[in-house]
């Protein structure tokens, strides 16, 4: 398995990854500029704030991920959490055996 035998795929080339990232940045910039150009008809005054949707979208996703990371500290357990059943077994506890024998 030499390297030149292996087929290279689209995103194996870091340039293509960079291209995607730059493309997204360009799209974002254009969309913010469009906010100034297109007159938005809106139902609510908040919609008129400049770059309301971009900022809201960005901030809510960052908040979402940060809160989800905190949530992980609270709720994350091992993969087999529900499969394992250690705990106490009332029928094999000391002292409870005698009443079966009595």
């Amino acid at each position: 398995m030499t390297e030149n035998k292996e087929k290279t795929y689209l995103f194996d080339n870091p340039r293509n990854v960079k291209l995607v990232i730059r493309g997204l940045l360009v799209v974002c910039i254009i969309l913010v500029i469009l906010d100034l150009i297109i007159h938005r008809h809106s139902v609510h005054p908040w919609e008129h704030i400049f770059a309301f949707y971009p900022v809201y979208g960005f901030v809510s996703c960052v908040v979402l991920v940060l809160l989800a990371k905190e949530l992980r500290k609270l709720v994350m357990r091992s993969e087999n959490y529900y499969d394992a059943y250690p705990d106490i077994d009332p029928f094999n506890d000391d002292g409870s055996q005698e009443d079966h024998d009595a």
Binding site: Y56, G57, C61, A68, D87, P90, D93
Partner: protein
């Protein structure tokens, strides 16, 4: 009377799937939903099938625009699901999936609560088979829990129906409302199936454990029947707005950290249901249209996403995000189809999610629920984040997993089923009028104006930017092998542990009680032995002379008393 036979093609299909094999079975199973859909096509609103049972008037089949829309939808979903499962030879699974679809069709055409109850329970039983059919220890447990919850919902529905009829309302299934106790019972019954917060875990528990094609069927029917039932019985109920916005928001946190990608989709299903529930709660014509249209679209794009993940599971046998990645190299078609589903659920313009979600969001804002609107915007950004980006990214891109070497495209029928769903997602997105014309209220709503498109594109582009920045700065939480605690912890951990503790406690008390009783009995036996053994007071032998003496004393004293 075609209206009475509306569920017959699918039920017959299920029956025939059980007794035929091979190509014939495939043809019959494909024909069943097509014939059924044609039957729905021949129906006209108001064409009800009525009968009487013990002098009670019943309407087992009621035809109106709402039931016709769902009728089409379920036949379509059944058709796509059948195509997706054509490679299967597992008879119980195939029979169950068509019977399940038939029950869903029956439920949306049910004109009275009794018929609804029967189909409601039919849904529970047939769908649980799709979970059991995975034939693993986990699916057995998840399926059993699923069945218990579903049957409990059915019991509540029955209790509510009896109370509702007893209150003099008859059995007709129309607007119910929350005023009466019966109304509340039925509301909870519907709520369980619609996966309201705290009773939602049956969904995220069982769907990831079902078979690849089973999950496709599951994601289409049960919850959509519940949405239909809520729209019919509780339109305009304000509580639904707040329940809905909770449903739209809280699951996305779990979706971000869940590892099993079908579990991510299950959480995102609850998030989409939240949008529909909000629409039903708002209750205006636009909102109800939006809710119903979104249910229609959700079946398509959620089905498509579930199918693409099912294909990955089928090929690699793996569904954990931590173990997958880079599969676009070997499964490019599946990856593209998955991304079409991802774009649709994220409500990109020209995809079907956009044309229905925007109706709900607009209706919410028009009714002045601005905080709810902010919640829905948050949920809309979040859904792109976890379903739109996370699902394709961790399955098909991201790091190179060990499955790349052995991976290949799934069977042709799976690709065809996904292609059908993808074409419908784009078709409805580009030509929403076809869907709008089927909606319960006539509408001239147009989703495609510059303001809407720009707002949505900004929201989505900057959500993607957020994902990108978090990923580049390595803040984004990695996929980890894990279980995340949720409301189900109460019945999967807390209640069993509590029961064990109580049992432990009872056994301790029981032991102590028995010991004391034994000790007391022992003492009793000992004292009896003391008094009755050979030298005991009560067992001593007495000389004859003393008896004669005492008899003489007795007779003497009697004589004395006679004279005195």
């Amino acid at each position: 009377m075609p209206e009475a036979l509306v569920t017959l093609p699918l039920f017959l299909g299920a029956l025939l799937a059980g007794i035929t094999r091979g190509k014939l079975r495939s043809i019959l199973m494909l024909a069943a939903p097509v014939v059924g859909a044609y039957l729905v096509y021949t129906l006209t609103p108001g064409q009800n099938f009525e009968t009487t049972l013990f002098d009670k008037p019943l309407t087992p089949v009621r035809v109106d625009s709402l039931s016709i829309l769902f009728g089409y939808l379920f036949h379509l979903a059944a058709f796509i699901g059948v195509v997706y499962s054509l490679h299967l030879k597992d008879t119980p699974q195939l029979v169950a999936s068509l019977a399940y679809a038939a029950c869903a069709v029956g439920a949306v055409f049910a004109g009275d609560l009794l018929a609804l109850f029967l189909y409601w329970e039919g849904l529970a039983i047939t769908s649980s088979i799709l979970v059991f059919a995975r034939r693993s220890g986990r699916s057995l447990g998840a399926g059993t829990r699923y069945l218990l919850v579903q049957v409990f919902s059915g019991v509540l529905l029955l209790a509510g129906t009896i109370a509702w009829a007893h209150g003099g309302n008859g059995l007709d299934f129309n607007h119910i409302g929350l005023e009466s106790m019966a109304g509340k019972l039925i509301f909870v019954a519907f709520g369980i199936k619609a996966s309201f917060p705290l009773v939602h875990n049956w969904l995220t528990d069982s769907y990831p454990e079902a078979t690849p094609s089973g999950t496709v069927f599951l994601s289409a029917f049960t919850t959509k029947v519940a949405i239909y039932a809520l729209a019919r019985g509780y339109a305009g109920t304000e509580q639904l707005i707040y329940i809905g916005v909770m449903m739209a928001c809280f699951p996305i946190f779990y979706a971000v950290i869940a590892n099993d990608l079908r579990r991510v989709l299950a959480y995102s299903l609850i998030n989409q249901l939240g949008f529909m529930v909000v629409g039903i709660g708002v209750g205006t014509e636009l909102a109800l249209n939006g809710a119903v249209a979104h249910a229609f679209n959700d079946v398509l794009f959620k089905g498509l996403l579930m199918m693409s993940m099912g294909a990955v599971l089928h090929v690699t046998g793996e569904m954990r995000g931590s173990e997958l990645g880079g599969l676009y190299k070997k499964m490019p078609k599946t990856a593209i189809l998955c991304m079409i589903g991802a774009a649709s659920i994220s409500a990109f313009p020209l995809f079907n999610g956009f044309v229905s979600k925007s109706m709900i969001v607009t209706a919410v804002l028009e009714e002045g629920h601005e905080w709810v609107w902010l919640g829905l915007l948050f949920a809309a950004a979040g859904v792109f984040h976890h379903a739109g980006i996370k699902i394709p990214f961790f399955a098909f891109f991201g790091h190179n997993s060990k499955h790349i070497e052995t991976a290949h495209e799934p069977p042709k029928n799976m690709i065809i089923a996904m292609t059908i769903a993808a074409c419908l997602c784009i078709g409805i997105g580009c030509f929403p009028r076809t869907l709008y014309s089927l909606l319960p209220y006539a509408t001239d709503y147009s989703p495609y104006d510059a303001s809407h498109i720009l707002a949505q594109m900004q929201l989505l582009a900057f959500s993607a930017l957020a994902f990108l920045s978090l990923k580049l700065y390595e803040i984004y939480p990695p996929e980890l092998r894990s279980t995340n605690l949720d409301a189900q912890w109460v019945y999967r951990r807390f209640a069993p542990t509590l029961a064990r503790w109580v049992l432990h406690f009872v056994i301790r008390i029981d032991t102590a009680f028995r010991r004391t009783a034994l000790r007391l009995m022992g003492r009793g036996v000992l004292s009896m032995v003391r008094h009755h053994r050979s030298e005991g007071v009560l067992a001593r032998s007495w000389p004859t002379g003393s008896m004669v003496f005492w008899v003489a004393v007795l007779l003497g004293s009697t004589l004395l008393m006679y004279y005195v």
